[in-house]
């Protein structure tokens, strides 16, 4: 199924239907030329394959079926219900299902049929807060989330978690994705004065997106603040182009893009949207009434403080007792000042300095000035910047966000739908999720992608509706095949680093339900703790060191582990944690001996094996067969086959339940999902 070109009047009609009043028809007059992904988003005609008509569960499946049939592939049969329950749990929660949930699903399939059973299970999964935690992880990769600055001392960012929790909330609350885009790029521009609602508070926290990149805190010491500023702006430009538009703007930082029609000016036009940004660490985030109360309280305290300090200054040095009494009162008053809530947030300086094109991308070689503008292939003129709700900002970033979510931009729905498909299917419709340019992979099923992208926007940018649409489809529920090599077929995949750790904790009963809040610091091997230059230079503010959390906190999900740029958690790093200096839309998967060592001999894996053995012994009693049934149900969500029973029996007979547990936790099946 190749997309069909239509006369422009048709497209106009579609756009008008999709987004009537607010639509900015910019770019409609001249359809852009460039990579396929910038072509207008026209919903393709839904194919109606004549055979296997009972296979599709909806229109998206009809595209998949047409593609399969077109390539001579029969549609795959559905997966075994246990495998499907396990898959849904890992894909929507990032966690293995409880054995009881799997049994309930198997029963439901028998009772009400596959469609109804899947729909009910999906509703349950989408309603759980674990859903937001899992979807957030993929987005945090894209926006290069970390809890530290990177560079020399890799200072901890004590407030970064508030952005992480915002992302989790956004997915759990099904915040429309267009709103999610606006808030991250320009949440501060949407809020005038102190936030009046939790929603406005969230809009401010969302600007953490603008703060997540590496930051060289020491640049000023060496008179390199200009370099640091130029890097911040380049990073925001390139990350924004990648995360929201699927475009590579790294090349055109220095020269016209080699593969795509992006001249160097495009980079700097995009950069100009960010020209006024400044760190807003001092911006109070408490709700307006609380801010007023606190401000009133602090004013009163400050008056008293001033009085006592003046008095102290006038009290004779010799009068020890009087001085001590005054000092104590002053200290008490200082402690009584109410601290405001702060976050890792960004806002604008009042005015934006001019943005220069930089020769060879070098901030020491400024060229002509440029005005804020979207990629010229869409509109080469300067963008119209309206006054934002917040009078203290320039309105530039909001103007960019409005264009990004407007019907004039076909990239963002395509890019976003592709990212979600990747999370759920393990492979993307466009194999290079961060590059929709001509150097990226061509779409493997463009008609399906465009169908979903159009549907996503028409459904109010609801990610949950998109997810539900995908996972209730026949394409999703198919039985996987080891040799699958077609976009419509599913291959088993290895769990991500976080999923492996979370699964070890979950099946052994060590996972705790703690959600959100400041990150948890796992213990590190002594040679790492004792040797890192930053740790050795630990400071009073407690930002340079490593501060291990108490053991009882270590059962948290991996999402909540601290993510220091220069010191990744070793177990996760071994399992292909991506570099977090730049966006990562798709992780690579490697199979290495150090992974085997970590899962065989590492402390966490050993703890999990011991806990799992204790759990099995407790829940299944002493009978070896009961133990095996329970162990397989917990670890693999299925009963053991006879062959497996036989293989485990010898070890069990010797009383080595924990060895069998270790073997199960190291089995390929444990870390793969079909």
């Amino acid at each position: 199924m190749t997309p069909r070109r239509r006369p422009r009047w048709h497209w106009l009609l579609v756009v008008a239907l999709a987004a009537p009043a607010a639509a900015d028809p910019q770019g409609l007059a001249h359809a852009p030329r460039g990579p396929w992904a910038v072509e207008p988003l026209i919903p393709p005609v839904v194919p109606q394959p004549a055979v296997h008509a009972d296979w599709p569960r909806g229109d998206a499946d009809r595209f998949v079926l047409a593609k399969l049939l077109g390539d001579g592939q029969p549609p795959p049969p559905p997966a075994d219900p246990r495998a499907l329950a396990r898959r849904l749990s890992f894909d929507l929660h990032g966690l293995p299902p409880a054995p009881e949930a799997v049994e309930r699903f198997v029963d439901a399939v028998a009772a009400v049929g596959l469609d109804a059973a899947v729909a009910a299970l999906v509703d349950d999964l989408l309603a759980s807060p674990h859903y937001g935690e899992h979807l957030a992880r993929a987005w945090l990769d894209v926006v290069r989330y970390a809890d530290s600055n990177g560079f020399d001392w890799d200072e901890f960012r004590p407030q970064a978690w508030r952005y992480r929790d915002y992302v989790v909330r956004a997915f759990n609350d099904d915040k429309p994705f267009d709103r999610f885009v606006r808030e991250q790029l320009a949440g501060d521009e949407l809020v005038a004065g102190p936030p009046r609602t939790p929603a406005e508070q969230d809009a401010l926290l969302a600007t953490g997106y603008l703060r997540l990149g590496p930051h060289d805190n020491a640049a000023g010491l060496f008179d390199e603040q200009d370099r640091s500023r130029a890097e911040l702006l380049a990073d925001l430009t390139e990350t924004t182009a990648t995360a929201f538009l699927g475009l590579t703007f790294t090349c055109c930082r220095c020269h016209d893009h080699k593969h795509d029609p992006f001249p160097q000016t495009d980079h700097y036009r995009l950069r100009a949207f960010f020209a006024a940004v400044r760190f807003a660490d001092d911006l109070p985030l408490d709700l307006a009434p609380e801010q007023e109360l606190a401000a009133g309280h602090n004013r009163a305290v400050d008056e008293d403080l001033a009085r006592f300090e003046a008095e102290l200054a006038l009290t004779a040095e010799a009068d020890g007792p009087a001085r001590e009494a005054l000092s104590a009162r002053i200290a008490a008053l200082r402690a009584d000042r109410r601290a405001m809530l702060h976050g890792l947030v960004m806002t604008d300086s009042r005015a934006a300095p001019p943005t220069h094109l930089l020769l060879q991308g070098d901030h020491r070689q400024p060229g002509d000035t440029v005005e804020p503008g979207i990629p010229a292939l869409f509109d080469a003129g300067p963008i119209a910047v309206a006054a934002p709700p917040n009078p203290r900002t320039t309105g530039r970033r909001l103007a960019l966000a409005e264009w990004i979510v407007s019907p004039a931009n076909p990239l963002t729905p395509r890019v976003t739908v592709n990212r979600i498909w990747l999370v759920l299917h393990g492979q993307a419709l466009v194999a290079t999720p961060d590059d929709f340019g001509t150097a990226g992979a061509p779409p493997d099923d463009r008609a399906l992608l465009d169908h979903l992208a159009h549907r996503f926007v028409a459904d109010g940018w609801s990610v949950k509706r998109l997810v539900r649409l995908i996972v209730t489809g026949a394409a999703y529920r198919q039985a996987s095949r080891g040799d699958a090599d077609h976009v419509g077929l599913r291959r088993p995949r290895r769990l991500s680093a976080e999923q492996v750790r979370d699964a070890l904790l979950a099946v052994s009963g060590l996972l705790d339900d703690r959600r959100g809040g400041p990150p948890v610091w796992p213990p590190l091997p002594p040679e790492v703790l004792a040797s890192n230059p930053a740790f050795l230079d630990d400071n009073a503010e407690k930002t340079k060191g490593w501060y291990p959390s108490p053991p009882e906190a270590l059962g948290c999900r991996s999402l909540y582990l601290v993510q220091k740029r220069n010191t990744p958690v070793p177990l996760l790093a071994t399992l292909d944690l991506p570099d977090n200096a730049v966006p990562c839309g798709r992780r690579t998967v490697s199979t290495t001996a150090p992974q085997a060592l970590a899962l065989l001999n590492g402390a966490l894996a050993a703890d999990a094996a011991r806990a799992l053995a204790a759990r099995v012994a407790h829940e299944a009693g002493a009978d070896p067969d009961s133990r095996l049934d329970r162990l397989f149900a917990l670890a693999l969500q299925r009963p053991p086959a006879d062959e497996e029973r036989a293989a485990c029996r010898d070890l069990l007979a010797r009383g080595a339940l924990v060895e069998v547990c270790r073997a199960l936790l190291n089995s390929a099946e444990f870390v793969y999902v079909d």
Binding site: F222, A431, G482, S531, R586, T588, T591, L600, V658
Partner: protein, 478 residues
Amino acid sequence: MGGAAAARRGWLAGLGPVALAALAAADGRGDDGPAIDPLRPLAPRRPHFTPRATRVIFLFMVGGPSQVDTFDHKPALQALDGQPLPGSLRAAIAGSRFANVLHGCTDRLLASPYRWQRHGQSGTWVSELFPAVARHVDRLCFIHSLQADSNNHAPASYQAHTGDIRAGKASLGAWATYGLGSESAELPGYVVLFDAGPLGGAANYSHGFLPAAFQPTRLRDAGAPLPDLAPPEEFAAGQRDTLDLIRRLGIRHARQRPGLTELDARLASYELAYRMQSSALELGDVEAETPATLRAYGLDHADERTRAFGRKCLLARRLVERGVRFVQLYDMPDKDGWDAHAQLADNHTPRARWTDQPIAALVSDLAARGLLDETLVVWASEFGRTPLVQGNGGRNHNAAGFTVWLAGGGVRPGQRIGATDELGYMAIERPTPFADLHATILAALGLSNDALSYRTAGRDERLTGVAGSATVIPGVLG
């Protein structure tokens, strides 16, 4: 299926289908990058042209040792001690893109507190800091005109390793193993050795965007060389039985999923992990060396830090001897390194003592074993230091001109290439960016820096940036 056959595939037993696709298609090898067998990513690969060296030991002195106190002899600096920087030099620096190397200094030149002497047939000047290395001076090729694009540790250090002052790129060692694989099946291809490591952390020696097969492995120089090498005590006796059960379960699982080759790789990875316990322990058993060798590296030295650095140098030799492609070794026993912002001698004198004898022993030992011809040894840092004084007898960072040296595999010995001005402040003859040093190191390995590319996020990444922007330094390779 055969675990034993599969196990021979190597240390990092394989990449998954995702990576396979990545290596084959749009996100992958780039126009001219090497073809990687996803099941044997570290299999030895042919270089682009005849190599002069097959292995690299990169000795990285963290923090910026002073060029004017080590290898860049400046009589004028000695003569002008205490004087202000001459106006012409100040103007030249202030007008260059290195103007900020003047920042933070007092306008008073600081002569080197060290005595200098000519060494070898080449008559090369070396300060008294490096008496043992000085004996090898005819084997070394100095480049006196390196320049970095930042005057701060982490960005300059990232550039020294990855070519870019920003984190997130792939390091030299990762590029070398990507280009060439490794000769060792049971040890990692790219090894990192340090106590405290470089400023800027793991982003220095990272594999960046390259597949994880090319990631570095940090080896410990005392005790078990790798973490998690042996099981916890209580599991030791049952380890073989557990592995057999993992294998039986794995074979059944793989049989039900024909075509998923990464499952074969996974079976192999467990067998390899088991065998590594002995091969890695054997590697780490430096005490098996002769007493003479141990003494030569300083393992009996009175100073504990000389012993620690000596062990790393000795391990480096043992690693390249076993076919490991790239050893990245850091001198960083504490949080400061060579970063002598005050009291230069208090910083530099002990650091030279900790490193001089082990480095000299490494060069001698490699030569004696016939390994030096094929092993490129590089000594470098992120930048040098200012001839002007900073604070109380210190020197500030200096990215405008500093010295590195190379020896061994293919290097023309006894050379001095490039030069700084009369005071050792800024490179004036053959200014050399790190990209040129990188191109030269790759060339010694038989790799073309322009051809060694990897496509990621829509562009062909290279260690040396856009094609055609770096040159192999003339005269370094014979």
